[in-house]
């Protein structure tokens, strides 16, 4: 190791030309301590996990691809996709309402968002499941007439419906904020340009605002998908046989609680990792400085020197 400190000025300084000398990063004792501690802790945890027989890795392996676990996983995926899709659509509507010039409309959207973001999703899920206590019969019909049908709320709000409704309504509030943030990232000049061309509000939204808001909406939505995937475990309290509930149903019989929780956790982890890859790709793509340039843009080849019209 070359020690080119102040002390060795006379002797070692001239071995390489000064301009070509590499610049060595400072390594503090803390850095080495950090290395050692982390490795020790890592080894300790690994040894404990592998040697503790109570983890019952054989049971984990046995149930990892168990039919009811896989069916639960499918239901979890379905709940994630369905509530994300519906929640995004509803959120889009709320975001549009919230940026409305008509005060009551924007206030209504605001109240919705405040209520659904301000209360725990677990409480909301249980609330929707028990909505029949509030409205035993749902009557769909024309007000002040006898036309219409009554639906038994208890039958309608089956656990899965309650789960879907709860997750969707909650997600909509978050997506509304994400989408509204995206809208406000579009410059005022863009809206003025669209207006001055005589674009209708709908065309302006579809062709100018939404395409430009996407770069900030998409990465955040990816995050929400990952969050939602894990968030679906909450609906196990309603007795919906999703991934966690499927595991719970098995260990209620076999008392192999930890191994089955590990099975569920591993599946959550696998799916989250699978989702994080496209998510990080999306984030990279949209965070780059050139992201203002659409992907299909061609490379610029200057055919004439700039300013030739002058």
């Amino acid at each position: 190791m070359v020690t080119a400190t102040n002390k060795g000025k006379e002797a070692t300084m001239s071995s390489i030309e000064a301009a070509l000398k590499p610049r060595i990063r400072l390594r503090t004792p803390w850095e080495y301590t950090g290395w050692v501690l982390s490795i020790l802790a890592g080894i300790g945890i690994l040894v404990s996990v592998l040697t503790n027989p109570n983890f019952k890795w054989a049971v984990v392996a046995q149930y990892f691809t168990h039919e009811s676990i896989l069916r639960g996983l499918m239901l979890t995926i379905f709940l994630t996709l369905a509530s994300m899709t519906l929640g995004t659509l509803l959120g889009l509507g709320l975001a549009i309402m919230r940026s409305s010039h008509v005060k009551p409309i924007s206030i209504a959207a605001n109240i919705y968002i405040t209520l659904f973001r301000g209360t725990p999703v677990l409480v909301q899920l249980i609330f929707w499941f028990n909505i029949s206590a509030l409205y035993p019969n749902l009557t769909i019909g024309i007000p002040f007439t006898n036309i219409g049908t009554a639906i038994d709320m208890n039958a309608l709000m089956a656990p899965i419906t309650a789960a879907l409704v709860g997750l969707t309504l909650n997600e909509a509030a978050y997506m509304a904020e994400i989408i509204r943030g995206g809208f406000s990232s579009v410059g005022k000049g863009q809206i003025e340009a669209a207006d001055s061309l005589g674009m209708s509000a709908g065309t302006r939204m579809r062709k100018v605002i939404i395409p430009q808001a996407m770069p900030s909406i998409i990465p955040a939505t990816g995050n929400q998908v990952i969050g939602m995937f894990k968030g679906t475990s909450l609906v196990s309290v309603l007795g919906v046989a999703e991934l966690l509930q499927s595991a719970q149903l098995i260990y209620a019989r076999t008392y192999e609680t930890i191994p089955l929780l590990l099975v569920a956790s591993l599946w959550y982890l696998v799916m989250t990792l699978l989702l994080s890859y496209p998510q990080s790709k999306l984030e990279q793509k949209y965070s780059r400085a050139t992201s203002r340039l659409p992907r299909k843009a061609k490379k610029v080849v200057l055919t004439e020197p700039e300013g030739t019209l002058r």
Partner: protein
Amino acid sequence: MSKDGTILAQKIRKSFGPKTVLKDINLDIASGEICCIIGPSGSGKSTILRCINGLETVDSGVLKVNGEDFGYYETAHAYHAHSPKKLAEQRTRVGMVFQSFNLFPNMTALENVMSGPVLVKGANKKESAKRAQELLASVGLAGFGDYYPAQLSGGQQQRVAIARSLAMDPEIMLFDEPTSALDPEKVGEVLAVMKDLAKKGMTMVVVTHEMGFAREVADSLIFMDDGYVVERGDAREVLSNPQEARTQAFLQQVL
């Protein structure tokens, strides 16, 4: 739709909150007239331009664009706002070019120029594309159709923006400091396009600091200060022999 191209403003007032930016504006711009508006910043020159395009609404006064009341219709007791559809239709007849170009970054130059005819008027895509190519060529950007705004220089972007406005076949073109955001080197190419346009008999209202352009191209010149039209007259006349003390002081500073 009748060809008109006139702008008439009488006693226009406009406030933003407590600040009155247009105090008593009277304008009378004939069809085919090239009118430059100059004045210090904050004098209301951009605001009056934005009113003529409906980006701002006037508080009171008469504003007739292309011979009809703009954005409102008159009854015995009041002016009533038009439906968004009618307002949009009136706007299509007035082109606007912004200081910051405001091209749609998600569209190519060609798509930008096509956006008006296709998205607003529902015109045939193929024909609009052909027309857009011609318009791009007319602003000296033939072959730049596939480029996105981010790939173009400021001067090129502004020329695309001019072509985009022209694609709507407006009777009137408004320019809000079209060269202020450009490198000095690129100012000339935009002014050249505007000169071309002026020769074709388009009504043009140009808010600008380019006194050379005003002297060379403009028919009339308006000097605004503090929400009032201080002086208006023949462009060369006003520039060389201003009558009002305020105009003299301003021109001394900028010339």
